[in-house]
Point group: C2
Protein backbone atom coordinates (compact mmCIF):
# COMPACT_ATOMS: atom_id res chain seq x y z
CA UNK A 1 0.00 0.00 0.00
CA UNK A 2 1.43 3.38 -0.90
CA UNK A 3 2.32 5.40 2.15
CA UNK A 4 3.40 8.98 2.54
CA UNK A 5 7.04 9.69 3.25
CA UNK A 6 6.03 11.29 6.54
CA UNK A 7 4.16 8.24 7.81
CA UNK A 8 6.99 5.96 6.65
CA UNK A 9 9.55 8.08 8.51
CA UNK A 10 7.35 8.12 11.59
CA UNK A 11 6.71 4.38 11.55
CA UNK A 12 10.10 3.01 10.55
CA UNK A 13 12.87 5.58 10.83
CA UNK A 14 12.11 7.40 14.09
CA UNK A 15 13.75 6.32 17.32
CA UNK A 16 16.29 4.01 15.72
CA UNK A 17 19.40 3.18 17.67
CA UNK A 18 20.31 4.01 21.22
CA UNK A 19 18.67 6.65 23.41
CA UNK A 20 21.28 9.21 24.35
CA UNK A 21 21.04 12.10 26.80
CA UNK A 22 23.10 14.33 24.53
CA UNK A 23 20.34 14.23 21.87
CA UNK A 24 18.18 17.17 22.96
CA UNK A 25 15.93 17.10 19.89
CA UNK A 26 15.93 14.15 17.51
CA UNK A 27 14.16 13.26 14.26
CA UNK A 28 11.20 15.47 13.36
CA UNK A 29 12.28 19.11 13.27
CA UNK A 30 14.32 20.94 10.61
CA UNK A 31 17.50 19.85 12.40
CA UNK A 32 18.49 17.78 15.40
CA UNK A 33 19.92 19.57 18.44
CA UNK A 34 22.92 17.83 19.96
CA UNK A 35 25.08 18.55 22.98
CA UNK A 36 28.77 17.95 22.25
CA UNK A 37 30.97 16.77 25.13
CA UNK A 38 33.58 19.07 26.68
CA UNK A 39 37.28 18.61 25.91
CA UNK A 40 36.62 16.35 22.93
CA UNK A 41 36.95 16.69 19.21
CA UNK A 42 34.20 15.51 16.92
CA UNK A 43 35.13 12.92 14.31
CA UNK A 44 32.79 13.15 11.32
CA UNK A 45 32.58 10.85 8.33
CA UNK A 46 30.11 9.96 5.60
CA UNK A 47 29.71 7.02 3.24
CA UNK A 48 27.13 6.18 0.64
CA UNK A 49 26.06 2.72 -0.50
CA UNK A 50 24.53 2.44 -3.97
CA UNK A 51 22.58 -0.68 -4.97
CA UNK A 52 24.50 -2.75 -7.51
CA UNK A 53 27.74 -0.93 -6.68
CA UNK A 54 28.29 -1.34 -2.94
CA UNK A 55 25.95 -4.24 -2.38
CA UNK A 56 24.21 -6.74 -4.68
CA UNK A 57 20.69 -5.65 -5.67
CA UNK A 58 19.39 -8.87 -4.11
CA UNK A 59 21.28 -8.63 -0.81
CA UNK A 60 19.20 -9.37 2.31
CA UNK A 61 17.49 -6.09 3.21
CA UNK A 62 18.40 -6.18 6.91
CA UNK A 63 22.03 -6.58 5.92
CA UNK A 64 21.82 -3.40 3.82
CA UNK A 65 20.72 -1.52 6.93
CA UNK A 66 23.53 -3.12 8.92
CA UNK A 67 26.19 -2.44 6.31
CA UNK A 68 25.21 1.19 5.67
CA UNK A 69 26.01 1.95 9.31
CA UNK A 70 28.91 -0.51 9.63
CA UNK A 71 31.02 1.12 6.91
CA UNK A 72 30.69 4.46 8.71
CA UNK A 73 31.47 2.98 12.12
CA UNK A 74 34.58 1.52 10.55
CA UNK A 75 35.76 5.03 9.65
CA UNK A 76 35.30 6.14 13.26
CA UNK A 77 37.16 3.02 14.45
CA UNK A 78 40.13 4.04 12.30
CA UNK A 79 40.16 7.45 14.06
CA UNK A 80 39.85 5.90 17.55
CA UNK A 81 36.57 7.78 18.00
CA UNK A 82 33.64 6.71 20.13
CA UNK A 83 30.44 6.57 18.00
CA UNK A 84 27.54 8.82 19.02
CA UNK A 85 25.18 10.19 16.37
CA UNK A 86 24.15 9.25 12.84
CA UNK A 87 21.99 10.74 10.11
CA UNK A 88 20.51 8.74 7.27
CA UNK A 89 19.51 9.78 3.74
CA UNK A 90 17.54 7.01 2.11
CA UNK A 91 16.58 7.02 -1.56
CA UNK A 92 14.03 4.35 -2.41
CA UNK A 93 12.40 3.46 -5.73
CA UNK A 94 9.03 2.77 -4.06
CA UNK A 95 7.42 3.22 -0.64
CA UNK A 96 7.88 -0.39 0.42
CA UNK A 97 6.98 -0.72 4.11
CA UNK A 98 8.33 -4.28 4.37
CA UNK A 99 11.64 -3.17 2.93
CA UNK A 100 11.85 -0.25 5.34
CA UNK A 101 11.02 -2.41 8.35
CA UNK A 102 13.77 -4.90 7.50
CA UNK A 103 16.27 -2.16 6.68
CA UNK A 104 15.50 -0.34 9.92
CA UNK A 105 15.89 -3.58 11.87
CA UNK A 106 19.40 -4.15 10.58
CA UNK A 107 20.39 -0.53 11.14
CA UNK A 108 18.84 -0.38 14.60
CA UNK A 109 20.53 -3.51 15.95
CA UNK A 110 24.01 -2.36 15.01
CA UNK A 111 23.30 1.21 16.20
CA UNK A 112 22.21 -0.04 19.62
CA UNK A 113 25.26 -2.26 19.89
CA UNK A 114 27.51 0.79 19.47
CA UNK A 115 25.37 3.32 21.39
CA UNK A 116 24.59 5.30 18.25
CA UNK A 117 21.41 7.39 18.06
CA UNK A 118 19.82 8.14 14.67
CA UNK A 119 19.22 11.89 14.96
CA UNK A 120 17.97 12.88 11.52
CA UNK A 121 17.58 12.00 7.91
CA UNK A 122 15.41 12.14 4.88
CA UNK A 123 13.55 9.73 2.67
CA UNK A 124 13.05 10.37 -1.01
CA UNK A 125 12.18 8.63 -4.23
CA UNK A 126 14.87 7.53 -6.64
CA UNK A 127 17.33 4.72 -7.37
CA UNK A 128 18.13 2.76 -4.19
CA UNK A 129 20.98 4.42 -2.28
CA UNK A 130 21.79 5.01 1.37
CA UNK A 131 23.95 7.84 2.71
CA UNK A 132 24.93 7.74 6.35
CA UNK A 133 26.89 10.39 8.15
CA UNK A 134 28.33 9.56 11.54
CA UNK A 135 29.79 11.62 14.35
CA UNK A 136 31.94 10.32 17.17
CA UNK A 137 33.97 11.76 20.03
CA UNK A 138 37.68 11.61 20.65
CA UNK A 139 39.56 13.30 23.49
CA UNK A 140 41.81 16.19 22.41
CA UNK A 141 45.01 14.88 20.83
CA UNK A 142 44.05 11.20 20.97
CA UNK A 143 42.76 10.64 17.44
CA UNK A 144 44.50 8.20 15.11
CA UNK A 145 45.36 9.71 11.75
CA UNK A 146 46.82 8.36 8.54
CA UNK A 147 49.92 10.50 8.60
CA UNK A 148 51.75 9.34 11.73
CA UNK A 149 53.56 6.19 10.56
CA UNK A 150 57.34 6.28 11.04
CA UNK A 151 60.17 4.25 9.54
CA UNK A 152 60.64 1.06 11.57
CA UNK A 153 57.03 0.86 12.76
CA UNK A 154 55.32 -2.51 12.41
CA UNK A 155 52.26 -2.81 10.18
CA UNK A 156 49.34 -4.69 11.68
CA UNK A 157 45.93 -5.71 10.37
CA UNK A 158 42.90 -6.94 12.28
CA UNK A 159 40.80 -9.99 11.48
CA UNK A 160 41.00 -11.86 8.20
CA UNK A 161 41.25 -10.14 4.84
CA UNK A 162 39.63 -11.07 1.55
CA UNK A 163 36.59 -12.92 2.91
CA UNK A 164 34.12 -10.32 1.65
CA UNK A 165 35.61 -10.24 -1.85
CA UNK A 166 35.38 -14.04 -2.05
CA UNK A 167 31.90 -13.87 -0.56
CA UNK A 168 30.83 -11.55 -3.37
CA UNK A 169 32.26 -13.99 -5.89
CA UNK A 170 30.30 -16.83 -4.29
CA UNK A 171 27.11 -14.74 -4.09
CA UNK A 172 27.34 -13.72 -7.72
CA UNK A 173 28.07 -17.32 -8.70
CA UNK A 174 24.90 -18.50 -6.97
CA UNK A 175 26.73 -20.50 -4.26
CA UNK A 176 24.70 -18.96 -1.46
CA UNK A 177 23.67 -21.68 0.93
CA UNK A 178 26.73 -23.91 1.02
CA UNK A 179 28.48 -24.19 4.38
CA UNK A 180 31.78 -23.44 2.66
CA UNK A 181 30.55 -20.09 1.29
CA UNK A 182 28.20 -18.82 3.97
CA UNK A 183 30.95 -17.52 6.32
CA UNK A 184 32.38 -15.54 3.39
CA UNK A 185 28.97 -14.19 2.35
CA UNK A 186 28.26 -13.20 5.92
CA UNK A 187 31.44 -11.14 5.96
CA UNK A 188 30.27 -9.47 2.74
CA UNK A 189 26.80 -8.60 3.99
CA UNK A 190 27.44 -7.99 7.67
CA UNK A 191 30.91 -6.56 8.26
CA UNK A 192 31.78 -6.03 11.91
CA UNK A 193 33.38 -2.61 12.43
CA UNK A 194 36.39 -2.67 14.78
CA UNK A 195 35.21 0.09 17.09
CA UNK A 196 36.56 -1.39 20.34
CA UNK A 197 39.90 -2.11 18.75
CA UNK A 198 40.18 1.47 17.51
CA UNK A 199 39.54 2.81 21.00
CA UNK A 200 42.13 0.42 22.46
CA UNK A 201 44.76 1.67 20.01
CA UNK A 202 44.69 5.25 21.34
CA UNK A 203 48.22 6.14 22.41
CA UNK A 204 49.67 2.98 20.86
CA UNK A 205 49.17 3.11 17.09
CA UNK A 206 51.11 5.74 15.16
CA UNK A 207 48.66 5.74 12.20
CA UNK A 208 45.53 3.86 11.16
CA UNK A 209 43.13 3.45 8.25
CA UNK A 210 40.14 1.24 7.69
CA UNK A 211 40.21 -1.29 4.88
CA UNK A 212 37.37 -0.63 2.49
CA UNK A 213 38.93 -0.60 -0.98
CA UNK A 214 41.48 -3.36 -0.31
CA UNK A 215 44.72 -3.59 1.68
CA UNK A 216 47.05 -2.61 -1.18
CA UNK A 217 45.09 0.51 -1.98
CA UNK A 218 44.28 1.59 1.57
CA UNK A 219 47.73 0.92 3.01
CA UNK A 220 49.12 2.97 0.13
CA UNK A 221 46.98 5.92 1.31
CA UNK A 222 48.42 5.60 4.81
CA UNK A 223 51.97 5.40 3.50
CA UNK A 224 51.53 8.36 1.17
CA UNK A 225 50.04 10.45 3.99
CA UNK A 226 52.96 9.47 6.25
CA UNK A 227 55.60 10.08 3.58
CA UNK A 228 57.12 6.59 3.71
CA UNK A 229 56.86 3.10 2.22
CA UNK A 230 56.40 -0.45 3.44
CA UNK A 231 57.48 -4.02 2.97
CA UNK A 232 54.75 -6.55 3.58
CA UNK A 233 55.13 -10.32 3.60
CA UNK A 234 52.58 -12.02 1.38
CA UNK A 235 52.77 -15.10 3.58
CA UNK A 236 51.78 -13.07 6.64
CA UNK A 237 48.48 -11.83 5.22
CA UNK A 238 45.75 -13.28 7.43
CA UNK A 239 43.44 -15.48 5.36
CA UNK A 240 40.54 -17.27 7.02
CA UNK A 241 40.08 -21.04 6.93
CA UNK A 242 36.94 -20.43 4.90
CA UNK A 243 38.81 -18.32 2.34
CA UNK A 244 41.62 -20.86 1.99
CA UNK A 245 39.17 -23.73 1.59
CA UNK A 246 37.02 -21.88 -0.93
CA UNK A 247 39.68 -20.28 -3.10
CA UNK A 248 43.01 -21.95 -2.37
CA UNK A 249 46.10 -20.19 -1.05
CA UNK A 250 47.01 -18.12 -4.10
CA UNK A 251 43.55 -16.71 -4.77
CA UNK A 252 42.87 -16.18 -1.06
CA UNK A 253 46.07 -14.13 -0.71
CA UNK A 254 45.16 -12.16 -3.81
CA UNK A 255 41.75 -11.40 -2.28
CA UNK A 256 43.41 -10.42 1.00
CA UNK A 257 45.66 -8.00 -0.84
CA UNK A 258 43.29 -6.47 -3.35
CA UNK A 259 39.73 -7.40 -2.41
CA UNK A 260 37.61 -4.68 -0.88
CA UNK A 261 34.88 -4.53 1.75
CA UNK A 262 36.95 -5.97 4.61
CA UNK A 263 36.25 -3.16 7.10
CA UNK A 264 39.20 -4.27 9.17
CA UNK A 265 41.77 -1.85 10.54
CA UNK A 266 45.31 -1.50 9.22
CA UNK A 267 47.62 0.38 11.57
CA UNK A 268 51.25 1.03 12.36
CA UNK A 269 52.79 0.63 15.81
CA UNK A 270 56.29 1.45 17.07
CA UNK A 271 58.29 -1.47 18.39
CA UNK A 272 57.71 -0.57 22.06
CA UNK A 273 53.93 -0.97 21.57
CA UNK A 274 54.13 -4.42 20.01
CA UNK A 275 53.96 -6.36 23.30
CA UNK A 276 50.65 -4.66 24.18
CA UNK A 277 48.93 -6.04 21.11
CA UNK A 278 48.37 -9.53 22.46
CA UNK A 279 46.40 -8.18 25.38
CA UNK A 280 44.36 -5.91 23.11
CA UNK A 281 43.63 -8.81 20.79
CA UNK A 282 42.39 -10.83 23.74
CA UNK A 283 40.41 -8.00 25.37
CA UNK A 284 38.63 -7.02 22.16
CA UNK A 285 38.31 -10.52 20.73
CA UNK A 286 40.15 -9.43 17.58
CA UNK A 287 42.82 -11.42 15.76
CA UNK A 288 45.80 -9.16 15.05
CA UNK A 289 48.53 -9.97 12.52
CA UNK A 290 51.85 -8.20 12.04
CA UNK A 291 52.32 -8.20 8.27
CA UNK A 292 55.31 -5.96 7.64
CA UNK A 293 57.40 -2.89 8.43
CA UNK A 294 57.43 0.75 7.48
CA UNK A 295 60.48 1.69 5.42
CA UNK A 296 61.88 4.93 4.07
CA UNK A 297 61.60 4.14 0.37
CA UNK A 298 58.16 5.18 -0.86
CA UNK A 299 55.72 2.61 -2.22
CA UNK A 300 54.45 -0.77 -1.12
CA UNK A 301 56.59 -3.83 -1.79
CA UNK A 302 55.57 -7.39 -1.22
CA UNK A 303 57.85 -10.15 0.01
CA UNK A 304 56.97 -13.18 -2.11
CA UNK A 305 57.06 -16.73 -0.75
CA UNK A 306 60.28 -17.26 -2.75
CA UNK A 307 61.94 -14.33 -0.97
CA UNK A 308 61.78 -11.80 -3.82
CA UNK A 309 60.60 -8.29 -2.98
CA UNK A 310 58.23 -6.99 -5.69
CA UNK A 311 56.37 -3.70 -6.03
CA UNK A 312 52.63 -4.12 -5.66
CA UNK A 313 50.83 -3.43 -8.88
CA UNK A 314 47.38 -4.57 -7.82
CA UNK A 315 44.90 -1.97 -6.77
CA UNK A 316 41.76 -1.86 -4.74
CA UNK A 317 38.27 -1.11 -5.88
CA UNK A 318 37.90 2.23 -7.62
CA UNK A 319 34.62 3.70 -8.70
CA UNK A 320 36.25 5.47 -11.62
CA UNK A 321 39.41 3.86 -12.97
CA UNK A 322 42.38 5.77 -14.30
CA UNK A 323 43.29 5.19 -17.90
CA UNK A 324 46.29 2.87 -18.05
Amino acid sequence: MPRSEFSLIRDYLTGLGASREDVRLGVGDDAALLQPPAAHMLAVSTDTLVAGVHFPEDAPVASIGHKSLAVNLSDLAAMAAEPAWATLSLTLPAPDADWLRDFAGGFDALARKHQVALVGGDLCRGPLAISVQITGFVPQGRALRRDGAAVGDHIVVSGYLGDAALGLQAWQGGERQASRTSPLIDRLHRPGPRVQLGLALRGLASAAIDLSDGLASDLDHLLTASGCGAEVALGQLPCSEAALRYAGTTAARQAALAGGDDYELCFSVPGWALPALAGIAADTGTPLSVIGRVVEKPGLRLRQPDGRLLPVSVRGYQHFSEEP
Copy 2:
Protein backbone atom coordinates in the same frame (compact mmCIF):
# COMPACT_ATOMS: atom_id res chain seq x y z
CA MET B 1 39.12 11.34 -19.77
CA PRO B 2 38.45 8.76 -17.10
CA ARG B 3 39.93 9.77 -13.78
CA SER B 4 40.23 7.93 -10.50
CA GLU B 5 37.88 8.89 -7.69
CA PHE B 6 40.88 9.85 -5.59
CA SER B 7 42.27 12.29 -8.13
CA LEU B 8 38.80 13.74 -8.74
CA ILE B 9 38.29 14.29 -5.01
CA ARG B 10 41.73 15.85 -4.73
CA ASP B 11 41.26 18.15 -7.71
CA TYR B 12 37.64 19.24 -7.30
CA LEU B 13 36.25 18.44 -3.88
CA THR B 14 39.09 19.31 -1.50
CA GLY B 15 39.25 22.69 0.17
CA LEU B 16 35.75 23.79 -0.85
CA GLY B 17 34.08 26.50 1.18
CA ALA B 18 35.48 28.66 3.93
CA SER B 19 38.67 28.01 5.91
CA ARG B 20 37.74 27.61 9.55
CA GLU B 21 40.01 27.34 12.57
CA ASP B 22 37.69 24.79 14.19
CA VAL B 23 38.44 22.30 11.39
CA ARG B 24 41.52 20.56 12.79
CA LEU B 25 41.65 17.87 10.10
CA GLY B 26 39.60 18.19 6.90
CA VAL B 27 39.03 16.05 3.80
CA GLY B 28 41.50 13.21 3.33
CA ASP B 29 41.51 10.97 6.41
CA ASP B 30 38.92 8.42 7.56
CA ALA B 31 37.03 11.21 9.32
CA ALA B 32 37.34 14.94 9.83
CA LEU B 33 38.32 16.24 13.28
CA LEU B 34 36.27 19.23 14.39
CA GLN B 35 36.35 21.40 17.48
CA PRO B 36 32.84 22.24 18.71
CA PRO B 37 32.33 25.61 20.43
CA ALA B 38 31.67 25.82 24.18
CA ALA B 39 28.17 26.54 25.48
CA HIS B 40 26.51 25.79 22.15
CA MET B 41 24.32 23.05 20.82
CA LEU B 42 24.98 21.53 17.42
CA ALA B 43 22.16 21.67 14.89
CA VAL B 44 22.48 18.83 12.38
CA SER B 45 20.45 18.23 9.26
CA THR B 46 20.72 16.28 6.02
CA ASP B 47 19.01 16.50 2.65
CA THR B 48 19.48 14.59 -0.55
CA LEU B 49 18.84 15.82 -4.08
CA VAL B 50 18.11 13.19 -6.74
CA ALA B 51 18.33 14.07 -10.45
CA GLY B 52 14.89 14.17 -12.04
CA VAL B 53 13.20 14.36 -8.63
CA HIS B 54 14.67 17.38 -6.86
CA PHE B 55 16.10 19.12 -9.90
CA PRO B 56 15.64 18.74 -13.66
CA GLU B 57 18.19 16.43 -15.26
CA ASP B 58 19.26 19.32 -17.49
CA ALA B 59 19.59 21.95 -14.75
CA PRO B 60 22.75 24.08 -14.93
CA VAL B 61 25.44 22.10 -13.14
CA ALA B 62 26.70 24.98 -10.96
CA SER B 63 23.13 25.47 -9.74
CA ILE B 64 22.98 21.83 -8.62
CA GLY B 65 26.03 22.48 -6.45
CA HIS B 66 24.43 25.65 -5.11
CA LYS B 67 21.06 24.05 -4.43
CA SER B 68 22.44 20.93 -2.72
CA LEU B 69 23.95 23.17 -0.06
CA ALA B 70 21.18 25.79 -0.06
CA VAL B 71 18.44 23.33 0.95
CA ASN B 72 20.53 22.27 3.93
CA LEU B 73 21.37 25.85 4.93
CA SER B 74 17.65 26.52 4.86
CA ASP B 75 17.11 23.85 7.53
CA LEU B 76 19.72 25.53 9.75
CA ALA B 77 18.07 28.91 9.14
CA ALA B 78 14.79 27.50 10.44
CA MET B 79 16.58 26.46 13.65
CA ALA B 80 18.32 29.85 14.04
CA ALA B 81 21.67 28.06 13.81
CA GLU B 82 24.91 29.51 12.48
CA PRO B 83 26.29 27.30 9.67
CA ALA B 84 29.73 25.77 10.14
CA TRP B 85 30.55 22.39 8.58
CA ALA B 86 29.23 20.29 5.70
CA THR B 87 29.89 16.85 4.30
CA LEU B 88 29.01 15.80 0.78
CA SER B 89 28.18 12.40 -0.68
CA LEU B 90 28.16 12.59 -4.44
CA THR B 91 26.96 9.76 -6.68
CA LEU B 92 27.85 10.31 -10.33
CA PRO B 93 27.14 8.15 -13.40
CA ALA B 94 30.56 8.91 -14.91
CA PRO B 95 33.82 10.60 -13.85
CA ASP B 96 33.09 13.87 -15.64
CA ALA B 97 35.73 16.43 -14.63
CA ASP B 98 33.88 19.33 -16.28
CA TRP B 99 30.72 18.45 -14.38
CA LEU B 100 32.61 18.24 -11.10
CA ARG B 101 34.35 21.58 -11.64
CA ASP B 102 31.05 23.35 -12.30
CA PHE B 103 29.28 21.59 -9.41
CA ALA B 104 32.13 22.44 -7.04
CA GLY B 105 32.04 26.07 -8.17
CA GLY B 106 28.37 26.45 -7.28
CA PHE B 107 28.82 24.67 -3.96
CA ASP B 108 31.96 26.59 -3.07
CA ALA B 109 30.55 30.07 -3.70
CA LEU B 110 27.54 29.52 -1.46
CA ALA B 111 29.66 27.80 1.20
CA ARG B 112 32.08 30.74 1.36
CA LYS B 113 29.19 33.19 1.57
CA HIS B 114 27.95 31.44 4.71
CA GLN B 115 31.34 30.55 6.24
CA VAL B 116 30.79 26.81 5.72
CA ALA B 117 33.77 24.47 5.38
CA LEU B 118 33.42 21.20 3.47
CA VAL B 119 35.02 18.75 5.90
CA GLY B 120 34.42 15.36 4.30
CA GLY B 121 32.56 13.35 1.76
CA ASP B 122 32.68 10.56 -0.71
CA LEU B 123 32.36 10.14 -4.44
CA CYS B 124 30.93 7.03 -6.00
CA ARG B 125 29.45 5.69 -9.18
CA GLY B 126 25.71 5.44 -9.64
CA PRO B 127 22.62 7.44 -10.63
CA LEU B 128 23.20 11.18 -10.06
CA ALA B 129 22.38 12.14 -6.48
CA ILE B 130 23.84 14.51 -3.91
CA SER B 131 23.55 14.11 -0.14
CA VAL B 132 24.72 16.96 2.04
CA GLN B 133 24.81 16.97 5.78
CA ILE B 134 25.26 20.24 7.57
CA THR B 135 26.15 21.21 11.12
CA GLY B 136 25.60 24.60 12.70
CA PHE B 137 25.88 26.15 16.16
CA VAL B 138 23.20 27.65 18.33
CA PRO B 139 23.67 28.97 21.87
CA GLN B 140 22.01 26.86 24.58
CA GLY B 141 18.25 27.46 24.67
CA ARG B 142 18.16 29.79 21.64
CA ALA B 143 17.16 27.35 18.87
CA LEU B 144 13.87 27.79 17.03
CA ARG B 145 11.75 24.68 16.97
CA ARG B 146 8.49 23.70 15.29
CA ASP B 147 6.59 23.13 18.48
CA GLY B 148 6.50 26.57 20.12
CA ALA B 149 3.61 28.32 18.34
CA ALA B 150 0.87 29.58 20.69
CA VAL B 151 -2.72 30.62 20.09
CA GLY B 152 -2.81 34.28 19.06
CA ASP B 153 0.67 34.32 17.51
CA HIS B 154 1.00 35.87 14.09
CA ILE B 155 2.16 33.75 11.18
CA VAL B 156 4.85 35.27 9.00
CA VAL B 157 6.62 34.16 5.82
CA SER B 158 9.76 35.53 4.23
CA GLY B 159 10.22 36.48 0.59
CA TYR B 160 7.80 35.48 -2.16
CA LEU B 161 6.24 32.05 -2.40
CA GLY B 162 5.52 29.96 -5.46
CA ASP B 163 8.21 31.35 -7.75
CA ALA B 164 10.18 28.11 -7.86
CA ALA B 165 7.10 25.99 -8.64
CA LEU B 166 6.21 28.32 -11.52
CA GLY B 167 9.86 28.36 -12.57
CA LEU B 168 9.78 24.56 -12.83
CA GLN B 169 6.66 24.80 -14.97
CA ALA B 170 8.37 27.31 -17.25
CA TRP B 171 11.57 25.24 -17.42
CA GLN B 172 9.69 22.08 -18.30
CA GLY B 173 7.66 24.00 -20.88
CA GLY B 174 10.84 25.18 -22.58
CA GLU B 175 10.32 28.88 -21.74
CA ARG B 176 13.84 29.28 -20.44
CA GLN B 177 15.29 32.50 -21.76
CA ALA B 178 12.31 34.83 -21.63
CA SER B 179 12.63 37.83 -19.32
CA ARG B 180 9.26 36.96 -17.82
CA THR B 181 10.34 33.46 -16.79
CA SER B 182 14.01 33.86 -15.90
CA PRO B 183 13.41 35.35 -12.42
CA LEU B 184 11.20 32.35 -11.63
CA ILE B 185 13.69 29.84 -13.01
CA ASP B 186 16.46 31.50 -11.04
CA ARG B 187 14.45 30.96 -7.86
CA LEU B 188 14.08 27.29 -8.81
CA HIS B 189 17.76 26.70 -9.50
CA ARG B 190 19.39 29.03 -6.99
CA PRO B 191 17.28 29.38 -3.86
CA GLY B 192 18.71 31.78 -1.29
CA PRO B 193 18.56 30.28 2.20
CA ARG B 194 17.41 32.75 4.89
CA VAL B 195 20.31 32.21 7.25
CA GLN B 196 20.62 35.82 8.50
CA LEU B 197 16.87 36.05 9.04
CA GLY B 198 16.88 32.86 11.11
CA LEU B 199 19.65 34.24 13.34
CA ALA B 200 17.75 37.52 13.76
CA LEU B 201 14.64 35.64 14.90
CA ARG B 202 16.33 34.16 18.00
CA GLY B 203 14.32 35.23 21.00
CA LEU B 204 11.48 36.63 18.85
CA ALA B 205 9.89 33.80 16.90
CA SER B 206 7.97 31.18 18.88
CA ALA B 207 8.32 28.50 16.17
CA ALA B 208 9.80 28.21 12.69
CA ILE B 209 10.04 25.84 9.73
CA ASP B 210 11.56 26.16 6.31
CA LEU B 211 9.33 25.89 3.25
CA SER B 212 10.50 23.04 1.07
CA ASP B 213 7.37 21.00 0.32
CA GLY B 214 4.98 23.97 0.04
CA LEU B 215 3.42 26.35 2.57
CA ALA B 216 0.24 24.32 3.19
CA SER B 217 2.18 21.16 3.93
CA ASP B 218 5.03 22.71 5.91
CA LEU B 219 2.86 25.06 7.99
CA ASP B 220 0.73 22.05 8.82
CA HIS B 221 3.81 20.34 10.28
CA LEU B 222 4.49 23.37 12.47
CA LEU B 223 0.87 23.52 13.64
CA THR B 224 0.73 19.81 14.37
CA ALA B 225 3.97 19.98 16.36
CA SER B 226 2.61 22.97 18.30
CA GLY B 227 -0.82 21.40 18.90
CA CYS B 228 -2.85 24.20 17.33
CA GLY B 229 -4.32 25.41 14.04
CA ALA B 230 -4.22 28.54 11.90
CA GLU B 231 -6.25 30.86 9.76
CA VAL B 232 -4.36 32.26 6.80
CA ALA B 233 -5.61 34.91 4.37
CA LEU B 234 -5.20 33.82 0.76
CA GLY B 235 -4.94 37.48 -0.27
CA GLN B 236 -1.98 38.00 2.07
CA LEU B 237 0.21 35.31 0.49
CA PRO B 238 3.23 37.11 -0.96
CA CYS B 239 3.41 36.54 -4.72
CA SER B 240 6.17 38.15 -6.75
CA GLU B 241 5.51 40.47 -9.67
CA ALA B 242 7.10 37.85 -11.90
CA ALA B 243 4.76 35.15 -10.61
CA LEU B 244 1.66 37.31 -11.04
CA ARG B 245 2.66 38.31 -14.56
CA TYR B 246 3.51 34.77 -15.60
CA ALA B 247 0.62 32.86 -14.06
CA GLY B 248 -2.09 35.36 -13.07
CA THR B 249 -3.39 35.91 -9.56
CA THR B 250 -5.25 32.63 -9.05
CA ALA B 251 -2.47 30.33 -10.25
CA ALA B 252 0.20 32.40 -8.51
CA ARG B 253 -1.65 32.10 -5.19
CA GLN B 254 -2.08 28.37 -5.75
CA ALA B 255 1.66 28.06 -6.35
CA ALA B 256 2.35 30.12 -3.21
CA LEU B 257 0.17 27.80 -1.18
CA ALA B 258 1.10 24.41 -2.57
CA GLY B 259 4.22 24.75 -4.70
CA GLY B 260 7.45 23.47 -3.20
CA ASP B 261 11.10 24.50 -3.34
CA ASP B 262 10.61 28.00 -1.89
CA TYR B 263 13.25 27.67 0.87
CA GLU B 264 11.73 30.63 2.63
CA LEU B 265 11.01 30.62 6.37
CA CYS B 266 7.55 30.38 7.90
CA PHE B 267 7.45 31.35 11.57
CA SER B 268 5.14 32.43 14.34
CA VAL B 269 5.66 35.50 16.52
CA PRO B 270 3.76 36.73 19.55
CA GLY B 271 2.12 40.13 19.23
CA TRP B 272 4.81 41.92 21.25
CA ALA B 273 7.45 40.87 18.73
CA LEU B 274 5.58 42.15 15.68
CA PRO B 275 7.02 45.69 15.78
CA ALA B 276 10.57 44.31 15.61
CA LEU B 277 9.94 42.65 12.25
CA ALA B 278 10.22 45.78 10.15
CA GLY B 279 13.73 46.40 11.42
CA ILE B 280 14.71 42.77 10.83
CA ALA B 281 13.30 42.90 7.31
CA ALA B 282 15.39 45.99 6.61
CA ASP B 283 18.56 44.72 8.31
CA THR B 284 18.50 41.36 6.53
CA GLY B 285 17.08 42.62 3.22
CA THR B 286 14.20 40.17 3.50
CA PRO B 287 10.56 40.93 2.68
CA LEU B 288 8.37 39.68 5.55
CA SER B 289 4.60 39.18 5.25
CA VAL B 290 2.12 38.51 8.05
CA ILE B 291 -0.29 36.01 6.52
CA GLY B 292 -2.47 34.85 9.42
CA ARG B 293 -2.93 33.91 13.07
CA VAL B 294 -2.51 30.82 15.18
CA VAL B 295 -5.86 29.54 16.53
CA GLU B 296 -6.89 26.80 18.91
CA LYS B 297 -8.88 24.68 16.46
CA PRO B 298 -6.52 22.21 14.76
CA GLY B 299 -5.96 22.37 11.03
CA LEU B 300 -5.19 25.06 8.49
CA ARG B 301 -8.06 27.20 7.19
CA LEU B 302 -7.84 29.71 4.40
CA ARG B 303 -9.70 33.01 4.27
CA GLN B 304 -10.92 33.32 0.69
CA PRO B 305 -11.15 36.67 -1.13
CA ASP B 306 -14.96 36.46 -0.69
CA GLY B 307 -14.58 36.18 3.09
CA ARG B 308 -15.36 32.47 3.45
CA LEU B 309 -13.07 30.39 5.67
CA LEU B 310 -12.29 27.04 4.02
CA PRO B 311 -10.16 24.11 5.16
CA VAL B 312 -7.05 23.68 3.02
CA SER B 313 -7.17 20.49 1.02
CA VAL B 314 -4.10 21.06 -1.12
CA ARG B 315 -0.89 19.42 -0.15
CA GLY B 316 2.75 19.97 -0.82
CA TYR B 317 5.12 17.74 -2.69
CA GLN B 318 5.34 14.20 -1.36
CA HIS B 319 7.77 11.61 -2.61
CA PHE B 320 5.36 8.83 -1.83
CA SER B 321 1.67 9.76 -1.88
CA GLU B 322 -0.96 8.34 0.43
CA GLU B 323 -3.79 6.47 -1.20
CA PRO B 324 -6.84 8.75 -1.29
